[in-house]
Symmetry: C2
Subunit: 192 residues, 2 copies
Amino acid sequence: MPQVRPMRADARRNYERLLEVAAEAFAEHGENASLDDIAKRAGVGSGTLYRHFPTRQALLEAAYVDRIEAMAARADEFAAQLPPGAALVEWLGAVCAGAIQVRGLKALLGSAVTDGGSVADTACGTHMKDAARRLVEAAQREGSLRGDVEPVEVLRLAHGVASASELADGQGRQIRRYLSLLMDGLRPGGQA
Amino acid sequence: MPQVRPMRADARRNYERLLEVAAEAFAEHGENASLDDIAKRAGVGSGTLYRHFPTRQALLEAAYVDRIEAMAARADEFAAQLPPGAALVEWLGAVCAGAIQVRGLKALLGSAVTDGGSVADTACGTHMKDAARRLVEAAQREGSLRGDVEPVEVLRLAHGVASASELADGQGRQIRRYLSLLMDGLRPGGQA
DNA sequence: ACCTGAACACCGTTCAAGT
DNA sequence: ACCTGAACACCGTTCAAGT
């Protein structure tokens, strides 16, 4: 693993400034925020943005990778405090809430669980899938989750729940309701 | 209800040509297909497109309103052939499949079940909600669907299932699986 | 009454010229 | 080695001029 040469001081400054501004812009305007505008607000030429982040996806991921890591870390906090099934539900609720509040995050989470998505596995995808696997397997061992669903499927369905909640009121007020409908099923007789 | 004066012959030709081309373009490129390109391919000036369809949403809805009506009509066909619960599931599966195959349709269906969405209730929204209500209420009377879910919620959750299926493989191969996970729940012990 | 297409503003992307 | 910003292509939207 060869060390990456440290960036030149001005390059590093630009890089970090771009990330800050991009995180704001994506949160406010969604995944399609203007790249030109981001470059301008960061005080750099548009070419500099493309040098550091060749695609919109690369910038989106770089801007939110720390938030994704924080989300993945919360999985273990819930696991330490609650029984496995409840921990999974609480965590999925938090993931949905984040996906709705921070507008660009939903698209990033979506691409993280897309099969055959772009360039192999992204860092964000790996973090989320690892966290989901720990909670899912624990819940399955406990017997509170069906044995025939995969962690990535649970993440995809949670993404669907976030979409449905967004349609309901533009915010996240229905997340818990829709998540529990998913857990217990639409047919009568499920667990309350 | 005052009769709308019939359009001038050339206006009507343009209008219909625009609808044809738009349906193709949205199906191929999704909801963000270039309006300029649609006008060009229809052989009209861009101003003509805006005259007939002041917003992208208006064009999208006009281009697909017949497909939406056909979808709504299928609800009654399923209801005539199957018990209520099965009819609902089959219909939702067909809706999801359509939403994935015809790219612009998913966005339209989404906005049709969005609360507080744009201009009051759209024609598409009304058709879909009416059809859903008939199936949902029948299934609830039969006892195969929880009594505490509303038709529009079922449509939103189906939209979420379509999203999740799209993430899974870009096509619709997981629709039936995800739909039945939604019906029966992720906890063990649901109906097979 | 309706259509056209130029005009304007905006955005993504590349690349020659700079330091 | 890195940055800048002009240049190009493209798109959405409006509106004066046409028929």
